[in-house]
Symmetry: C2
Subunit: 333 residues, 2 copies
């Protein structure tokens, strides 16, 4: 294993300090916790939006802290849920008196710990609401989940809920729009290579030199199919068909698409995928309202990509267009 790290057990700690060192005017770290929050958190009178999960998916989630998106993000060890204690500290630090929405990716550890943290925070009189994101259409249950996994579509939940909260909506309304995104988004991913965790130092799974894995999760969980390597167009077609089959969209539906890199994929290749993806949207009579291409939800150094499609209505478009100013995503007026 060759990585730009020091001791594997320090990587999350040093990463968080390195993030604060990069954005000292925007982020601060809670004392003795693997939690980042907006420098000005809590924002009085605004619903707080928080998320969290295992590390290794950067810029998810800490990179989405800022105006118009998250107030806080908890970083567990690599591919490991943050503890309930850490999550509770985050929830309390982000409560400006109007309650806090927790955006949770559907993994058993995350869901359990967020549940416990919410109960603990409620005992401190913080109103807490929760949305579980499960956009991965590849598998029903999986290694770490009951039900579908939460993957790149989560960023759209951060964006829509964050915009609604910035606009002064109450916890119920913010939760409603977060759920609307969850109801309208689907994602499917694939890997050319396995990721290598700092701790283990070897590939999480073995893929032959001519093999790829379709339907992969963001921790190297098994996908739906291991197959021979294929062209970018063939892969894009397969992923897109699966997502569209799940979403069952009407002709002319406006959508936002994401071509998401898994961490080790050159941007060049993501644009090649987007080229075919936008042709496919046309062929299916769908209208791309916005197309994102980049590394939004990664798996360490994994090479591969996922495709996300989210059906939009006027409300979601307005929320996605609203200003956001975070290290990982900026939307200007």
């Amino acid at each position: 294993m060759k990585k730009l790290i020091n001791e594997p057990e320090d990587v999350v700690d040093e990463m968080l300090d390195g993030m604060v060192a990069a954005y000292p005017d925007r982020l601060r770290r809670l004392d003795d916790a693997e939690v980042l929050v907006r420098k000005d958190a809590p924002i009085d009178g605004k619903v707080g939006i928080v998320s969290g999960g295992g590390s290794g998916h950067e810029p998810t989630h800490g990179g989405y802290i800022g105006e118009g998106m998250l107030d806080g993000a908890a970083a567990g060890e690599v591919f490991t849920s943050p503890t309930a204690d850490q999550l509770e500290s985050m929830i309390e630090a982000c409560d400006g008196g109007e309650g806090v929405l927790c955006v949770v990716k559907n993994y058993e550890g995350d869901v359990m710990n967020f549940d416990t943290a919410a109960e603990m925070a409620e005992m401190q009189d913080v109103e807490v609401s929760q949305v579980v994101v499960n956009d991965d259409v590849a598998v029903q249950d999986s290694l770490y989940t009951t039900g579908r996994r939460g993957v790149a579509g989560t960023i759209l939940v951060h964006k829509a809920a964050g915009a609604k909260a910035a606009d002064g909506a109450d916890l119920e309304e913010v939760t409603r729009v977060a759920e609307k995104v969850v109801d309208n988004v689907g994602t499917m991913g694939m890997a050319l290579t396995s990721c290598i965790t700092p701790d283990k130092g070897e590939p999480t799974f073995d893929l032959g030199a001519d093999e790829i894995e379709l339907g992969i999760g963001i921790h190297g969980e098994p996908g739906t199919e291991r197959t021979e390597k294929a062209s970018a167009d063939e892969i894009t077609e397969h992923l897109t068909e699966q997502v569209l089959e799940d979403l069952e969209l009407d002709d002319g539906q406006e959508v936002l698409t994401i071509v998401n890199g898994m961490g080790g994929t050159p941007l060049m290749e993501l644009f090649v995928v987007n080229n075919r993806l936008q042709e496919l949207m046309d062929e299916h009579g769908l209208e791309t309202w916005d197309a994102w291409v980049g590394d939004y939800m990664t798996s360490l150094d994994m090479e591969g990509a996922s495709i996300t499609v989210c059906a939009l209505d006027d409300e979601l478009k307005e929320l996605l267009l609203a200003p956001a100013d975070t290290p990982g995503l900026t939307v200007t007026e």
Copy 2:
């Protein structure tokens, strides 16, 4: 080789179409050319800013097209200079009557073809000026250069010159600030792994499982030293010392730093590097005015990073703070 591509010879063409498909309101592609320009180019009365070079360094350069940065970017084949004809088409397409500044990374092919293109454009009565960026402190001459190589510091030239042009300055003034950045910026990089070009399909150079290469270029050109793998802190210290030795900054000097990923490096690791980098700035009595962390100037799928330090004065700070709205870099007011 496993890559998300179709035929290797189509990768640049499909990438460019995929970029336009992602940003159809911002970018357009010149007919029959591997050149992207601002959708609204040429901008009447504004000095045009253009750049270009071999592909494989994305988001460089096409990703920096937009308000406050570039008007156009030419994309050669992977790691190969664009032709003079393509560069000339770009220069003419970006001339709004006030002339065009070409920002050229110092590689022999690029410099030669930009020179020829400038002569051709001048025959069409376009005023052309040129700045050659050579921020890589690692080597004096190299495989593809006479003199030092141009690497990640180039993005700061795009930003400063772009802001000056957006402010209505004339070609001479825009050129002056571009040269000021070149005079004040230094970069040094390292690789954990080689990149693999689509064409060749194998690593450009061999690095043992326990080896790293310091002072590497962005095409896998040899660096200054092949050494045993080291910790992120040790690597960061080595790169930073080399850059600072070259720049010879005064105590208290304000700087902008960049931790740049080479394409295959997880963001997590770049933040670990930034953590030590900012400590080193402190230890050297330097003041970090802004710290960038991300993939700005890549080498396909290479794992590794470069560190850039740029000394700032009030003029450069103002130009770097000015709004920019491009796919690869957004600065809000």
